[in-house]
């Protein structure tokens, strides 16, 4: 078995402040294999973006990795200096962010942005880099790619811009792509195109993808496995179909019940009472216990088993839900 492209072990991100230390990412472990798409889903404040940014060393001060390890292709990267990390970003890890307009430089032609990235990471002449940029744009489905090199970002539509961003993320052939809400700013019809594109490119090249989103629909369409985050911790991790159809963690179950698409014909949606706790006052024991219909005394005292240590474990819960076959 080939080792995973990305391996995160017991990662903790801490933000110290005057009121104390908050941990927006608390002890999470997961692997992403070659050619696999791991969906990371959660509501706002669950720490999903922070988990992605920690991997690529893009945490804003004072947030920092307090403990845990990040391994990329068998090399530990969480303790590297800023210069070494910069070389890894783009070359080995590509990034796609939510808003395609802000992730492109509005003052540079997209051809210049692509060739700059390519020459930064690969030993190429300007002409070679230009050919490669054209090939990259053609691959993401931009018509008349050679002419569009001279266009500025504002001359593209939203969907086309996100294609450019994907071309930019993939042009140095990274082994891992972190896509943070890549389709949230786009319309449904364009969203379907972008998801299909991301899936095709990663399958063809064997790129591993960490797809961070709040949209369970996108996860269901694109991901192989899904990690459900709640209050900085992994609540459930498993194959996407199993988690959707037979969720084991009560939070994952509540989340599925709250989706209008799964409640066709029902008068009311199932709702989870209350709201996600703030990172400064996460309840002791299981973070979900105050909202959990199955919570017992044990849940309020002992933190549930951590996911990832046991490869068979799916839900971080003392009393996971059983689903009769």
């Amino acid at each position: 078995m080939t080792p995973p492209v990305l391996s995160v072990r017991n990662l903790v991100v801490a933000i110290p402040s005057r009121a104390g230390v908050s941990r927006p990412v608390n002890n999470i472990s997961y692997d992403i294999a070659q050619g696999e798409i791991l969906g990371v889903v959660g509501e706002s404040g669950a720490g999903k973006s922070m988990a992605g940014n920690a991997v690529i060393g893009l945490l804003d001060r004072p947030a920092h990795i307090a403990s845990g390890e990040v391994w990329l292709n068998g090399r530990r990267i969480d303790n590297l200096g800023p210069e070494e990390l910069r070389r890894i970003r783009g070359r080995q890890i590509g990034m796609v962010f939510q808003d395609p307009l802000t992730s492109l430089n509005p003052l540079l032609r997209i051809g210049d942005q692509l060739t700059e990235t390519i020459r930064e990471h690969l030993p190429m002449t300007a002409a070679q880099a230009r050919d490669r940029a054209v090939a990259a744009l053609e691959e993401v489905g931009i018509p008349a790619a050679a002419e569009r090199l001279n266009s500025y970002p504002h001359e593209f539509s939203g969907g086309m811009r996100q294609r450019v961003v994907i071309a930019l993320a993939l042009c140095a052939e990274p082994s891992l792509v972190i896509a943070d809400e890549p389709t949230t700013a786009l319309d449904v019809s364009v969203q379907a195109q972008i998801i299909a594109l991301l899936k095709r490119l990663c399958r063809d090249r064997g790129t591993a993808v960490m797809l961070v989103t709040h949209d369970m629909g996108v996860i269901a369409e694109a991901a192989d496995r899904v990690a459900v985050m709640y209050a900085g911790r992994l609540a459930e991790l498993g194959p996407v179909r199993s988690v959707i159809n037979t969720p084991r963690h009560p939070y994952a179950d509540g989340l599925m019940g709250a989706m209008p698409s799964l409640a066709v014909g029902q008068r009311r949606l199932r709702q989870i009472p209350g709201a996600m706790p703030r990172p400064m006052n996460i309840p002791s024991g299981c973070a979900f216990s105050p909202r959990c219909p199955r919570a017992a005394d044990k849940c309020r005292i002992d933190p549930p088993p951590t996911l990832g240590d046991d490869p068979k474990g799916r839900a971080a819960c003392w009393f996971p839900m059983e689903h009769p076959a």
């Binding site: 319309d187 019809s189 996108v218 159809n245 066709v264």
Partner: protein, 325 residues
């Protein structure tokens, strides 16, 4: 019997020309953006009418004209029998309120919740004693919250305050413009359930604007599908989701990610929404339509009845519908 809300041949265009000096020097013509064009529909009292569409389809513009916040360029809106824009007293008797998308932007941060909620009643000159407390409890908050400021609440709670404010003046029609798009799924479920309950208790009529097909399917009694400011299809959720008639509706349904536990192979949507300043001649959807014939490029189809569904497509009878998803 006449419907509660009657919208006839509604149209709205915006002047997006450059300043007159530029037009004179650069010899540019005036440019008009047609946001809404020839839209007619009716809403029965106590019903939920939903408008769905992608960005730029004119759904919010229609909502604003229905609320009286914008005057139509063509056509008329009649609410409870009187013309909203011609008759100056009509807006008061119609008792229309609105709920907006962003609960962070639609509450005055310097006002206490009590003042925010009572404002519609103060304007109409009614009794406000105890009003805020009663309404807060009705929307699932507590009476003590009346003395707090908006920043002390989460997104879902703020949207509840917006709903309480909308209820203050005893409305008959509430226009909800993407009321849950800024909320997380579990909070969205809470707000949608609350809206359904209030409709049953108070006999409200909702005009529901959304881009999310799953939410619309859950909430609406009748759905209008908009594309480039034109009504393409209007049907009940059952009709629309089991047998979409218009090729655009078919494309939207195929593109929307479904959490049905199946992997689907779909024909990806072609192209993107065209520029509304220069829409294609004939049917607005013809450049992206897989069935388009010569007639579609020349003549704009009228909205007409086909088996109890209103469709604006020349080929509505011939087009085979794909098997229900």
């Amino acid at each position: 019997m006449t419907a509660f809300v009657e919208v006839t041949r509604l149209g709205r265009s915006f002047d997006v020309s450059k300043p007159w000096l530029n037009r004179v020097i650069e010899r540019l013509p005036r440019r008009r953006l047609v946001a809404v064009s020839d839209v007619s529909f009716q809403i029965e009292e106590g019903a939920v009418y939903a408008l769905v569409g992608e960005s730029g389809s004119g759904k919010s513009t229609i909502g604003r004209m229905l609320a009286g916040l914008m005057t139509p360029s063509e056509g008329a809106v009649r609410v409870a029998g009187s013309d909203l824009h011609a008759d100056s007293g009509a807006r008061k008797t119609a008792r229309i309120q609105m709920i907006f998308q962003d609960p962070y932007a639609s509450l005055n941060p310097r006002w206490r919740v009590r003042r925010i909620i009572c404002e519609p009643m103060v304007v109409t000159g009614g009794e406000t004693e105890g009003l805020a407390e009663r309404l807060l409890e009705q929307v699932g908050l507590s009476a003590e919250d009346a003395d707090k400021f908006p920043h002390e609440f989460s997104g879902g709670q703020r949207q509840r305050i917006c709903i309480a404010r909308a209820l203050a003046a005893n409305p008959r029609l509430i226009i909800c413009d993407e009321p849950t798009s800024a909320l997380d799924v579990s909070v969205q479920a809470q707000v949608l359930n609350l809206m359904s309950d209030l409709r049953d208790e108070l006999g409200l009529t909702y005009m529901f604007i959304s881009h999310d097909l799953t939410v619309v399917r859950h909430m609406a009694d009748r759905i209008g599908v908009l594309y480039l400011g034109r009504l393409m299809e209007e049907a009940t959720p059952a009709q629309l989701f089991t047998r979409p008639r218009h090729p655009y509706t078919q494309m939207l349904l195929a593109a929307a990610p479904l959490i049905d536990g199946r992997t689907r192979d779909i024909d990806l949507p072609r192209g993107e929404v065209p520029d509304p300043i220069s829409p294609p001649p004939g049917c607005a959807f013809n450049p992206r339509c897989p069935f388009a014939v010569e007639l579609c490029r020349k003549q704009r189809p009228e909205l007409r009845d086909v088996d109890g569904v209103r469709v604006a497509c020349h080929l509505a009878e011939q087009i085979g519908t794909p098997p229900a998803p």
